[in-house]
C-alpha cells in the first residue's frame, strides 16, 4: 500500500491545482441568467428567488428530485426488512429532551414552509426538520403503529411526487405546458406542492433512517 502513495500524492496535488486554476480563472458570469430571473420574479408567484427557481423556473429539477428520493427509499426497502440492532432504552435526558424538541421542530418546519415564499426557507429545509424530528423519535425507540405503516405511510411517501405530477398534468391540460403556472394562481399552487413535498421529504428521510421496510407493512 505504501508503495503506491508516492504516486498518489503528486496526482492528487496536480488535480487540486488544476481544479483550483479552473475555479480562479473562470470568467465573470454573463449577467443574463440573474437578470432574466430578476425581470421575471413578479410572474413566479413568490418573492424568494431561490424558491422561484426551485418550484417554478426549474420545476423539472425538483420534480425529478422527488423521484430520486422515492427511488432511494425503494432501494432501501428492496434490501429487506429492518436490520435488528441491540435496543437500549433511551436515557432520561434524551427522553425528556425529545418530548420538548419534537413539537418545536414541527412548529419550525411549518414556519419555514410558510416563510419560503418570501424569505430563506422552503420545502427542503422544512422537510429536513420534519425528518430530524422523526429520527429523534426513532432513536428514542418510538415505532410507527402497524395500523399506519401500510397504506397511510405509502400515501404520505408518494404525496410530494404525486402532487407535483398531478399539478403538472393539470396545468398541461389547462395551460398547454407542463408545470406552466398561471401567474395569478402560481403562489397558491407552489404552496400546495411545497406542503405535500415537505411531508414526503420528512417521511422519506426518516423512513430511510429506519433502514428497511417496517414490519407488518405487507400490502
Amino acid at each position: 500500500m505504501d508503495t503506491k502513495h508516492w504516486l498518489l500524492l503528486p496526482l492528487l496535488l496536480a488535480l487540486g491545482v488544476a481544479l483550483g486554476y479552473a475555479v480562479v480563472s473562470m470568467p465573470e458570469p454573463g449577467q443574463e441568467l440573474p437578470t432574466m430571473l430578476a425581470n421575471n420574479m413578479e410572474v413566479s408567484g413568490v418573492s424568494n428567488p431561490v424558491t422561484a427557481v426551485l418550484l417554478n423556473f426549474r420545476g423539472y429539477d425538483t420534480l425529478l428530485e422527488m423521484g430520486v428520493l422515492l427511488g432511494a427509499l425503494l432501494g432501501v426497502w428492496s434490501l429487506g426488512g429492518i436490520v435488528e440492532n441491540r435496543e437500549s432504552s433511551p436515557g432520561q435526558v434524551l427522553d425528556i429532551m425529545s418530548r420538548q424538541l419534537v413539537p418545536v421542530l414541527i412548529l419550525v418546519a411549518g414556519y419555514l414552509l410558510w416563510a419560503g415564499a418570501d424569505a430563506p426557507g422552503g420545502a427542503f429545509q422544512a422537510g429536513s426538520l420534519l425528518a430530524a424530528a422523526g429520527v429523534l423519535l426513532l432513536l428514542c425507540g418510538w415505532r410507527l403503529d402497524n395500523r399506519y405503516s401500510g397504506l397511510p405511510l405509502r400515501v404520505l411517501l408518494v404525496l410530494g411526487l404525486g402532487m407535483f405530477v398531478i399539478a403538472g398534468i393539470g396545468l398541461l391540460l389547462l395551460q398547454g405546458g407542463f408545470l406552466l403556472y398561471p401567474p395569478a394562481a402560481a403562489g397558491g399552487l407552489i404552496l400546495i406542492i411545497e406542503a405535500a413535498a415537505t411531508l414526503s421529504i420528512g417521511t422519506t428521510l426518516a423512513a430511510m433512517f429506519l433502514g428497511g421496510r417496517p414490519m407488518g407493512a405487507e400490502l
Binding site: 492528487l12 475555479v23 458570469p29 427557481v53 428520493l69 432511494a72 434490501l79 429487506g80
Partner: protein, 98 residues
C-alpha cells in the same frame, strides 16, 4: 480577485482531500464519509461562485442546485449505508472482498 475565491479554493481542497481518503481507505464507512466530504467541497464551490459579483445579489440558481444536491447526497448516503450493512452481514467485514 475577491475573498470569495478563498471559499471556492477551500471547496476544491475539501474535494481533493475527500478523493484521497476515498482511494486510500478500504473500509466502506470511510469511503462513504469521503464521498460526503467531496460533495461538501463541490457545494462550497457552487455557493461561493454564486456570489462572485459582490456588487450584485447572489445568483439564486446555484443555490437552488445546491439544495437539490444536498437532498440527493443524503438519500444516496442512506442507500450506501444500507448496502454497507448488508455487506457486513454477509461477509462479517466492512470491506469489499477482492
Amino acid at each position: 480577485m475577491s475573498y470569495i475565491y478563498l471559499y471556492a479554493l477551500l471547496g476544491v481542497g475539501l474535494f481533493v482531500l475527500g478523493l484521497n481518503a476515498l482511494i486510500i481507505h478500504a473500509n466502506l464507512l470511510r469511503k462513504i464519509l469521503a464521498v460526503n466530504v467531496m460533495c461538501t467541497g463541490a457545494f462550497l464551490v457552487l455557493v461561493a461562485l454564486a456570489s462572485r459579483n459582490l456588487a450584485a445579489q447572489p445568483d439564486p440558481v446555484p443555490h437552488a442546485m445546491v439544495i437539490t444536491g444536498i437532498v440527493v447526497a443524503v438519500s444516496a448516503t442512506a442507500l450506501a449505508l444500507i448496502l454497507m450493512v448488508k455487506v457486513n452481514l454477509a461477509t462479517g467485514k466492512n470491506e469489499l472482498p477482492d
